[in-house]
Symmetry: C2
Subunit: 328 residues, 2 copies
C-alpha cells in the first residue's frame, strides 16, 4: 500500500458504514477478521460498476458510491439475506480527494442505513471502476434462490419498472432536470433503492426471487431456466410509475418495463396460498407489489395481454456481452 493511498484509505474508508461487534479486525491489515453468525448461511456476492458502461463517467461521485453498494445490496435482497459486511475495490484514474470523499459519503450513508460495515478494500490506479463485494446472512434453508418456482406460482414484482431506463434516456438528452418527475426518474437511475426489507419479508413466502437489474424479461428468464419452468406474463399489468406514464410513449413504456435495466426491483414467485400475505408485506416494507403473471409448465416466456391474447411486443433479446455486462 503506498503512503498516500494508505492515507486515503485511513481518511475515507477506515470507519465507513456501521460499527459491528462481529468485525474483529476491520480495514488496515492484510485481511479483515470477521465473526460469522452461528447457524446461518453466509450470502456472498460481487458486482462491478465500470465508468462509462454502468454509470456516466461524470456522474456525481456521491451517487456512484451509493450505486456501487446498492447493486450488491440488491443481490443480497434477492437472496433474502441481511447485509453485514462489504469490501471495496476502487480503481480511479487519479487521487482526486474531493471525488473520493463524495464517493465515500454515498457509499457510507447507504452502508449505515443497512447496518453494514466496510471491512476491507484497496485503491488502484486505472480506468474508473468499482468492484464491491457484499456479505450477509440468512438462516439455513430459508434463502430465496432462482430455483424454486413451480407451475401455478404467481409472479410478482416490487415497485415500478422501466424508470431507470427512461431516466437514462432523458438524462442523455439533457432532460433529466425538467421537473420533479424527471428528477425522480434520474434518482431511480443514479440512486437505486435496494429492496432489502422486502427480501427479508419474503423469506418463507417467496418460492424464487431475482433482482431486476437487466430488465424483467431477462432476469425472470434466469429464474425460469434455473427452475425448469415457463411463464406467462401479462404485459398490461407491468407496474409503471406516474412519471414514466407521463414522459414515455406507450411503446417506450412496454420496452422499458420488460427490458430496461437498472431498476433493482425484486421479481419473485409465490404459491397462490401465500398471495394474501403480500398486501401486509407491501404495507410493512412500504413498497408496492404487483402480480404480473403466472409460472407455467414447460419453458420460455409468453407475453400476453389482460384478455390472454398474445402480446406482439418486440422484447430486445439478451443484451450482447459488453453492451452492459452482468448486473446479476
Amino acid at each position: 500500500m503506498t503512503a498516500s493511498e494508505f492515507d486515503l484509505i485511513q481518511r475515507y474508508f477506515s470507519d465507513l458504514g456501521s460499527r459491528r461487534d462481529d468485525v474483529l479486525l476491520g480495514v488496515g491489515d492484510d485481511a479483515a477478521l470477521l465473526q460469522p453468525m452461528a447457524g446461518e448461511a453466509l450470502a456472498l456476492c460481487v458486482d462491478t460498476l465500470v465508468g462509462g458502461v454502468h454509470f456516466p463517467q461524470d456522474a456525481p461521485a456521491e451517487t456512484v458510491g451509493h450505486k456501487a453498494l446498492a447493486v450488491n445490496l440488491s443481490d443480497l435482497a434477492a437472496m433474502g439475506a441481511r447485509p453485514a459486511w462489504a469490501t471495496l475495490s476502487l480503481t480511479i484514474p487519479a487521487a482526486d480527494e474531493d471525488w473520493i470523499a463524495a464517493f465515500a459519503r454515498g457509499f457510507g450513508n447507504l452502508a449505515r442505513y443497512h447496518g453494514m460495515a466496510l471491512v476491507g478494500g484497496d485503491i488502484t490506479r486505472g480506468s474508473l471502476s468499482i468492484s464491491v463485494q457484499a456479505a450477509g446472512f440468512v438462516p439455513r434453508g430459508r434463502a430465496l434462490t432462482r430455483r424454486g418456482a413451480r407451475p401455478g406460482d404467481a409472479i410478482c414484482v416490487s415497485g415500478t419498472l422501466g424508470d431507470a431506463a427512461l431516466g437514462l434516456q432523458l438524462w442523455q438528452h439533457g432532460r433529466g432536470d425538467l421537473d420533479e418527475e424527471t428528477r425522480w426518474l434520474a434518482e431511480r437511475l443514479h440512486r437505486p433503492t435496494p429492496r432489502v426489507s422486502l427480501g427479508l419479508a419474503l423469506r418463507g413466502c417467496a418460492t424464487a426471487a431475482v433482482d431486476v437489474s437487466d430488465g424483467l424479461a431477462q432476469d425472470l428468464g434466469h429464474v425460469l431456466r434455473a427452475s425448469g419452468v415457463g411463464a406467462q406474463l401479462d404485459v398490461d399489468r407491468l407496474p409503471v410509475s406516474t412519471a414514466a406514464a407521463r414522459y414515455a410513449t406507450e411503446d417506450e413504456r412496454s420496452r422499458h418495463s420488460l427490458s430496461g435495466g437498472d431498476d433493482y426491483e425484486l421479481c419473485f414467485t409465490v404459491v397462490r396460498s401465500c398471495l394474501h400475505k403480500l398486501d401486509a408485506i407491501a404495507s410493512r416494507v412500504g413498497v408496492q407489489i404487483t402480480r404480473v403473471g403466472t409460472i407455467q409448465p414447460g419453458a420460455g416466456l409468453d407475453l400476453v395481454h389482460a384478455d390472454r391474447s398474445p402480446a406482439r411486443l418486440e422484447v430486445p433479446g439478451y443484451t450482447h456481452f459488453g453492451d452492459r455486462g452482468d448486473r446479476g
Copy 2:
C-alpha cells in the same frame, strides 16, 4: 447477466477450483450461499490487478489468472488463514474466449491446489482489470496481524527478495528468456507462490506478519506503525536468489530486496524463544526462512550492516499513489 456472458460464466467459471461441502450454492444465483466454519474467524480480503499497472497488458492470460488469485492468497497467508472461497470480478475489453479459457485455467489450477472454490463473480466490459476477493478461516485469537510485534522480536522473511523486480527489469529489456535463471525470475514475477502453508505454520509462533507485496521496507513499515515499534534491519542478511546474485548489480540487489514489489513472500516477527522452531517449519513447508533484523523500541526503520554500522542506502520512499497502487 447477458446471455453470452451467462454462457461464458457457465462454461469457464461455474465449477472452478475445488468442490467444497461448505458451498451450499455456488456460481449462478444472485449470491453464493456458504457455510462458515463454526468457531473460526472469517478472513476476508480483496485485491485488484489492473492491466498495464500490475501486470503487462500482454502477459499470458494463464499467468494473469494465477496472479490475480495468488496476490489474495498471499494476504490470507499473511493472516495465517486457510483459504476457502473466492469471488472474481473480471473486466475485459472484449469476450475473447481463448483469453478467458487460459485465464480460468491459471486461476482454477491455483484454486484447486489450495482447496479453494470460486463461488461467484461477474464479467463486465471495460479496461482489463481483475478484482478477486478471497475468504479463509483462522481459529479465533490465532490470526497473524500487523499489530503484535514487540521490541526484541526477531524479524524474518521467507524465500528471497527482489526477484520479481529484477524479473520485471529483465522482461522489460527483452531479457526474460535468456536462460533458466531469467526464466525463473520471470516466473517469480508472473506466477508468484503465495506462502499459504507457511502462514498456517506460523500460527502461534509469529507475533506479527505481513506479505511483501510493495517491498520489504514499505511492508515492514506497516507492521512497525501498526505495532507502535521500530526496527533494525541488517541489509547484508537480506536473502537474495542465485539468479538475482548473477543478474543484478550489488546496487540493484540492495534496492530490489528492500523496495522491489511483487515478491509475495512473508515478513514476520517472532519472539526469540520461538526462533528455534523456525528451522523445522522451514523444512516442513519447503521455504527458506531468514532472520533479517530485530524489532526495537521507538519508531522507524534503521538499516545497518552486519557489523551494525549504518547502511547508507537510498531506499526509494513509499511509491506515490498510482505508480503501483495497493498490493496490501
